[in-house]
Symmetry: C2
């Protein structure tokens, strides 16, 4: 067994599978060396996943390899960026070769899908955790920020909401549903979220603001509102729920998960009235629905939740690691 740190890295992570010309030097020196194409802005995001906090202790390494990258890709999607390079800092309690093989195979499958290259990282001994640094490219001045929403803009989300939280509840045996196909579908939405990269890129010319839904709709929408200096009216009756959710989960519970469950990794974005027509055309061929769930309002109105055209008291909070004591 290759048990040296350097051999370990070489064996599982030093696979140059992409043909990226912008990587002058990848793994194997003090730094990676990268060339940026002209008129492109670099987008960088960092995510840490800790065992027992961000993923269950018994997670399959293939699911972990997939989700760690997918979650990070979702941040690029929210900016409308093209994925380019990844750094991976992996802290492991022990050298477990089957685990490493399964984890790295899954990670590289997703890297290859997006023509990304692993350019460096670090491997250390300690309690299991991962920190990924993702680097993407976006044409200058075209990145989607949280700060561009204006009163009157329409609020949209991609896909359906709350499925990931339902999947987590199933994994933790907090709920039960009889239909095994529905059971698997919801768990898959938790373990294998699909980053909305193509949708983010298509929104570059259309959306005024965007964010990905990691903490939960209410919490993440409030980031847009704060950065844009706006309020919003959210129509709870319009929230898109999946068929499996509607057929298997109590409506009140489903609504709760859709608003605050987190980890859906769908995009929430705002679109000026003038771009609504173009939006349907631009996003229609990706096979993922988009749904208008409300409208941006002046900051004085705050965030208002409406159900059956009546005001609902807002007491939803997003997931916050340090509040969960």
């Amino acid at each position: 067994m290759a048990c040296g740190e350097f051999e370990l890295i070489t064996a599982y992570f030093d696979r140059v599978t992409s043909s990226r010309r912008d990587v002058e030097k990848g793994i194997g020196d003090d730094c990676a060396l990268l060339t940026l194409p002209e008129k492109q802005t670099l987008a960088i995001s960092t995510d840490t996943l800790v065992e027992g906090v961000h993923f269950l202790r018994d997670i399959h390494p293939a699911d972990l390899g997939y989700k760690a990258l997918a979650v990070n890709l979702s941040d690029l999607a929210a900016m409308g960026a093209d994925p380019a390079w990844l750094t991976l800092a992996l802290t492991l309690p022990e050298v477990n070769e089957p685990w490493l093989k399964s984890f790295s195979d899954s990670l590289f499958e997703l890297l290859d899908y997006y023509n990304m290259q692993l350019i460096g990282g670090d491997t250390t001994r300690g309690p299991l955790s991962l920190t990924l640094g993702i680097h993407g490219l976006v044409p200058q001045g075209r990145a989607l920020k949280r700060s561009g929403a204006r009163p009157g803009d329409w609020i949209f989300v991609t896909g359906t909401l709350g499925d990931s939280a339902a999947g987590l509840a199933l994994l933790q045996h907090r709920v039960k549903i009889g239909d095994p196909v529905a059971h698997e579908a919801l768990i898959k939405r938790h373990l294998r979220p699909m980053p909305r990269i193509l949708q983010g890129q298509a929104l570059r010319n259309l959306a005024s603001a965007a964010i990905d839904l990691s903490d939960g709709l209410i919490s993440d929408l409030q980031h847009i509102l704060k950065a844009s200096g706006c309020g919003a009216r959210l129509n709870l009756d319009a929230l898109p729920l999946s068929e499996v959710m509607k057929q298997n989960i109590d409506p009140e519970q489903a609504l709760c998960w859709a608003l605050g469950g987190g980890e859906d990794y769908e995009l929430c974005f705002t679109v000026p009235e003038i771009n609504r027509g173009a939006l349907d055309v631009a996003l229609s061929h990706y096979g993922v629905p988009i749904t208008c769930i409300g409208q941006i309002a002046p900051v004085s109105e705050g965030l208002v939740l409406l159900q059956n055209d009546r005001l609902v008291e807002s007491h939803w909070k997003g997931f916050d690691h340090f509040d969960r004591r």
Copy 2:
């Protein structure tokens, strides 16, 4: 006490202290947005530090904040790059505000010194560890790589070797020395290594290869030899030892630390004969000595250690986390 994750980050790490024009968007969106100057290559390195593995459990947070960044800067120095941006992924067992203040003050002091900007990161709950992603800039085609050494090139190191290992041994009460000034000096070399950024930049036109000494001279020099396809003759009598080392530590022990102790964060670099004169001029005004410790040889010779002009058996190994079981 601000105990929400977002407020915590805002309070201690959202300090825009630099005036970097290449940061279009720093902390506060899904990604940071950066502009690269023309004809510059991006250099990226990642380092993870885990409590109990890379730093002692009772380390002062100010020392940790300093050293975490200094270690990462050292990778940029080894490429001859200018420091630019940092991402910080911080995993904390609890929210300890005095700890956070001391840690972040120290980190930002060093960031400011190099006119760097913290552009993002992540804060999570878990066993204490840090992953830093450092980004630097180097003129196109001028980065110092490990692969450029050629037989006949002279091998140099900056500063003195082994002091950091001596400092660690003192902190762990594995050795004792009577002189309190020497004691403090060696501990400082362990806790507060000085990244050789200016030296690395000055070497861009002069050195054929470079690496920073994190694992120990033998281990790190072997990375150069492997990447360059060369051997080397190392003159152990020439290894630069500090005065405090020479006056307080047994010579055999000092040599052992100089060769394999690690964490000196000095630069080891190779220089063609034709550049030796220019080297003295270029590096003389930084106040840090440089010392010629050997010469690159054909790969067939391997790595040869010489003492009193006689061959020494080589059994030194670098620090390897997964070999230390």
